[in-house]
């Protein structure tokens, strides 16, 4: 019972962070119908961003996160301007391959620089005990940061003018343009926000898991599962999907071997796509 409880709460805490990663993917899909296959490498860059700021500059990881997020935003805008903008109206194959080429470029440079050896950020916040449950401090803070970011994103999308523009462009780009929304800038901003969330989640993960430059790939796949669970293009759904995935990862090890986790995850993914492609909370429409 204790094992189940601690496994569940661990899963739930990580679920928040998965949710943030998936939110980045789903935001980009919702606004411009692009599946960003460079999502994983950007998560990995977020991890290495924390590693570099912590080990080389000695910055506290949570302050480093702000820097990582800013760089993530900038990187996303650059990727949008160079790559995505030109294939926005092309068929899906083109956008998929275009973002995948960015994936290859980042992974190629990353492997040359960091090799594929595992790295870790040697940082700890001790443990928190709640009755029978003991939680890692870094994971609690990570989950809290993820919640804060979600609230921030919600406020940005629903309470500010650029946020309203983003929603307008997601709804109907042509109509938004006619209303005077600078759609190109808004699309660049949305893509940047998406990659910012990816880099941010990568940074959070780096505070408690070891990682390699290729580690982003598995989080990217998890993000796909989460996006489909919550409904493609629905950021709040993504958080819920992240929690569900975290719970699954918490429950399964208590009833069968851990190696079955991906089988369940991806089977669920395909089933949801087939039965309810709009996800649990409904996709953007």
């Amino acid at each position: 019972m204790d094992f189940l409880l601690s496994s569940l709460s661990d899963g739930l805490l990580i679920g928040f962070i998965y949710g943030v990663a998936a939110m980045g993917l789903t935001l980009i899909f919702g606004v411009m119908d692009v599946i960003n296959l460079a999502h994983g490498p950007i998560i990995a860059l977020g991890m290495f961003g924390i590693y570099l700021t912590f080990n080389n500059i000695g910055l506290q990881p949570y302050i480093g996160l702000i820097l990582v997020a800013a760089i993530g935003l900038l990187l996303g805008i650059i990727i949008y301007l160079i790559v995505v903008r030109r294939v926005l109206d092309a068929p899906h194959l083109s956008t998929l391959l275009a973002t995948f080429s960015v994936n290859m470029i980042i992974i190629g440079l990353g492997t040359a620089y960091f090799s594929t050896a595992p790295y870790n950020v040697d940082f700890s916040l001790g443990r928190v005990s709640l009755g029978p449950i003991t939680l890692l401090g870094t994971r609690v803070i990570g989950a809290l940061a993820a919640i804060l970011v979600t609230i921030g994103l919600y406020l940005f999308l629903y309470r500010t003018r650029p946020g309203r523009y983003i929603r307008a462009v997601a709804n109907n780009r042509n109509a938004a343009e006619l209303m005077g929304v600078p759609s190109n800038k808004i699309l660049a901003l949305s893509f940047g926000l998406g990659t910012m969330l990816a880099a941010f989640s990568g940074g959070l993960i780096a505070t408690f898991f070891p990682f390699t430059i290729l580690a982003g790939g598995s989080y990217e796949l998890k993000s796909f599962v989460i996006c489909v669970l919550g409904g493609m293009g629905n950021p709040i759904g993504a958080l819920l999907g992240g929690l569900i995935l975290g719970l699954i990862e918490g429950i399964i090890p208590t009833i069968m071997e851990t190696t079955w986790v991906p089988v369940v995850e991806f089977a669920l993914f395909v089933i949801i796509l087939l039965v309810r492609p709009s996800g649990l909370l409904g996709a953007k429409k």
């Binding site: 899909f29 080429s101 190629g108």
Partner: protein, 323 residues
């Protein structure tokens, strides 16, 4: 002569493959034979993928799953049940086709990005399942006892044999690809690619046509999977279902020109050659992936129709010849 003129496109495609097949026979170097094997494998896989991707317009991102399924089924029959390579290859192709039929029935209802995501999900689900499946050796996979190659005249002879079979499979794959492209069935597929709803109105039974195109594009990867892992003497989950190779196949089809018979052949040969050169060059070997990525980006941004597509658009007279 008329026959020759009508099928000039096929002749060009087949002569490219013949060149690839004859080259290691002329140089008589085993290393060249291995390079040619890798290129032919890529050509056959890309041509198969082209049937569902290029002709029908469905982006199958995880197509390598059929290579893995065929590889595992065939390898199991060879190494654990003692079947011959030929029976195993048939079984590998059949099981890949059968699973493609079942999966295709379900996921071909999805369109666009959702279909692409589903194919990734299926590849990962089956990879994770096989890694837990004890009959297939779980995460460790299976091995072939080297004694087994004695039946084929020893390991060197077996490698030689595998190469000849690969040449044969590539020829058949390209012939099938050409036959589909020039048939009424292929015309239906092309119509689905342009506008599925309009195609249905015109009398194309889209669900059936799509499913058969998907099955057809899965059978050859299944056969090749068995052959490849027979030659490899070892099979592991991550070697059998590499998502990365799957995406490389898409790159090859794009590079050569999607929806053409010749495109995937040139794309696969060109990509493999380039990759080999980058990997062996001292300057590029560390960043070969980045260089390939930049090349892919340039192609997508500036010549989205691929090499063959570009030539066809630029010089309309070549359209009769370059299928």
């Amino acid at each position: 002569m008329k026959l020759l003129n009508n099928h000039l496109g096929l002749l060009i495609a087949l002569s490219v493959i013949t060149l690839l097949a004859v080259w290691p026979l002329v140089t008589q170097k085993p290393a060249d034979r291995e390079v040619a094997f890798t290129i032919l494998r890529a050509v056959a896989l890309a041509s198969s993928l082209n049937i569902i991707l290029g002709y029908t317009g469905y982006v199958s991102f995880g197509h390598i799953v059929y290579f893995g399924i065929g590889g595992y089924v065939g390898f199991y029959l060879i190494s654990q049940q003692g079947y011959s390579l030929y029976t195993a290859m048939l079984a590998g192709g059949f099981s890949a086709g059968l699973i493609a039929f079942l999966i295709g029935k379900a996921i071909l209802r999805l369109r666009g990005a959702y279909f692409a995501l589903a194919t990734i999900g299926i590849n990962q689900a089956i990879l994770a399942f096989v890694a837990n499946f004890d009959l297939f050796g779980g995460p460790i996979g299976m091995n072939i006892n080297f004694q087994l190659y004695q039946d084929y005249g020893g390991a060197p002879k077996a490698l030689q044999l595998a190469f000849y079979i690969m040449v044969g499979i590539t020829f058949v794959t390209v012939l099938v690809s050409y036959a589909v492209r020039t048939s009424k069935f292929g015309l239906g597929l092309l119509a689905i690619r342009e506008d599925e709803d309009a195609a249905e109105v015109m009398g194309v039974v889209a669900p059936n046509a799509k499913t058969w195109a998907y099955v057809l594009s899965a059978i050859f990867p299944g056969i090749i999977g068995t052959l490849f892992f027979f030659k490899n003497a070892n099979i592991q989950p991550h070697d059998a279902f590499p998502l990365h190779t799957s995406i490389e196949l898409l790159v090859m089809v794009m590079l050569g020109g999607y929806g053409t018979v010749l495109g995937p052949i040139l794309g696969a040969a060109g990509y493999q050659r380039m990759r080999g050169l980058l990997l062996t060059s001292p300057f590029f070997k560390d960043i070969q992936l980045s260089v390939a990525g930049i090349l892919l980006l340039v192609i997508i941004l500036f010549i989205p129709a691929g090499i063959v597509g570009w030539i066809r658009n630029r010089f309309p007279k070549t359209r009769r010849v370059l299928q």
